[in-house]
Symmetry: C2
Subunit: 315 residues, 2 copies
């Protein structure tokens, strides 16, 4: 009967996960955390931190924030005649990926500065919103903010239903993320830890504004992640979820000498449904140390192909 | 009858405020914010930010974090023979306030560095806890964390009972504050915005630690306050509460062109029960611009002597 089916479904907090070890360990962890006993975690300490790119949504063919920057360069180019002489802009306009990739971190930083700064925080937010309304992922043909991994969305909701605070701790920009994280992930604007550009306050025509400046204030990656977690959250998390060696220190900080806790790495093994990469082929997130140490540290490694029943929500 | 009395008390959310304009305006603001209509504020936007020194607790005879640093110098001096040659340390040990004051910001920074850095975040927290257990305010003879202003504690609770998030946005150090804010103010560790020293992550004997470094990362004062509010909270607050011109930009950011909102300045007018200062005599918090602009901006100015029935909780 229909009643019974929906009742069974409701009993499974992680329906998009296969019945393999990661799902069972996650459920056991939540049960232990919320049951009186050795592994109980007081509510105020139920802090779970999630990397974003490659952990909650894809990071290919390029990190989505970079795709936003590229789309913005295209949109803005007609009103910036001075960009005509700029090799990097020309590479963007021609879709010359090779030149873009060769420009490395410096080129990337320049594209971000050109599209993320010199405007108010309000104007920036409007631009991200407008982009999300029209841009679509080249392969999956859906708006970027609808590409959250369904199994991870279920995990976020499951943790919250059990008293956990869910935080993003990402190398991405805070101002870029918080435009859409509430709706996409159920994560409020003040639970986003990320990279931060300098801003300054000024009165403009009698109204206060914050202007986004080109200087980088903080890069939230690798050993920066525990530092930023300390600054904004002020507690060691009890759960850390990542996908690359950029999350290695966050996993260490969360789990080593800090029981009860859980660490999890999403391993991209599914070229058919998503992408497959770790130490190779080259991707935004490289995963070497995390895989090597996972067994020793008792971190869960999710084999996307084997452990996830589906990757994205049904269309 | 006892029943009636306690019932009347329970109906008054701000019993330590006199029946003067500030109290009435605060209650009206909360009623309007939570009632459908022009001045209704959706729950997710009910953000109230509070300066700490001079707003939630005193800042005299010196800001309490500085008193902590001085007490720590005294405690640590016997095990630091190299400090014997140090003029500033000698001034501390002799109680030579004149030399300390003359050393200015640079001397102050040095005292903070000597007592706040080179240790793990865990060790620092233990030291603050130990200090709070033994140190007492020279005039009020009570532990520092029991010197929250009773009217402000009531206001914090009243706002929270009406769906507001209460945040500290202080020039004080985040690591110093979050040790005691939960118990003293009901403000959790992740709702503290403040000044921040650099820290770095390392593995020490196989265990992850964060070490507090001497460099200052961010000073949360004046135009820095809106910047830090944006970074950590990600919304313009709907209420700002301060006591000095260090809060001026935070008051602007919260209230100008941003109705409905409220701004409030605690004016220290009560030398008998607490302290009296604004532009003079010299104190940690100077208040000039705020008083000049309060009428134009419709900011509430609390006259501590006139508007507060009592200053501290009953002993
Ligand atoms: Ca990642
Ligand atoms: Ca103050």
């Amino acid at each position: 009967p229909v009643f019974l089916c929906s009742s069974i479904q409701a009993d499974d907090p992680l329906p998009s996960w296969n019945e393999t070890s990661p799902k069972h360990r996650l459920i056991q962890y939540v049960k232990d955390s919320t049951t009186e006993g050795e592994s109980f975690i007081p509510v105020e300490e139920r802090i779970a931190v999630f990397d974003n790119d490659g952990t909650l949504w894809p990071e290919n063919p390029l990190p989505f924030q970079l795709i936003f920057a590229i789309d913005e360069i295209r949109r803005l180019a007609p009103s910036h005649p001075e960009w005509k002489e700029d090799k990097l802009v020309q590479a963007v306009l021609k879709g010359d990926v090779k030149t873009l990739k060769e420009s490395g971190r410096k080129g990337l930083g320049k594209l971000l500065a050109m599209t993320h700064t010199g405007i108010t925080t309000v104007e920036f937010e409007t631009r991200v919103q407008n982009w999300l309304k029209t841009a679509k992922h080249p392969r999956f043909d859906r708006p970027y903010n609808e590409l959250g991994y369904q199994p991870m969305l279920e995990l976020l909701a499951y943790l919250r239903a059990n008293g956990f605070q869910t935080w993003i701790v990402s190398g991405g920009g805070v101002d870029f993320m918080r435009v859409w994280t509430e709706e996409a992930y159920g994560i409020p604007r003040n639970q986003i830890v990320g990279s931060v550009g300098k801003t300054h306050f000024e009165m403009r025509d009698g109204t206060p504004v914050l202007i986004k400046d080109p200087e980088i204030d903080f890069v939230d990656d690798k050993a920066g992640k525990p530092v930023a977690i300390h600054r904004q959250i002020g507690r060691r998390p009890r759960g850390a979820f990542g996908n690359s060696d950029g999350d290695y220190e966050m996993l260490q900080w969360t789990t080593i000498g800090h029981a009860p806790s859980i660490g999890l790495i999403v391993h991209h093994t599914d070229a058919d449904r998503e992408y497959a990469y770790d130490k190779a082929p080259k991707s935004s997130g490289k995963l070497i140390k995390g895989l090597e140490d996972a067994a020793k540290r008792n971190w869960i490694v999710v084999d996307m192909k084997k452990d996830w029943k589906r990757v994205f929500s049904a269309e």
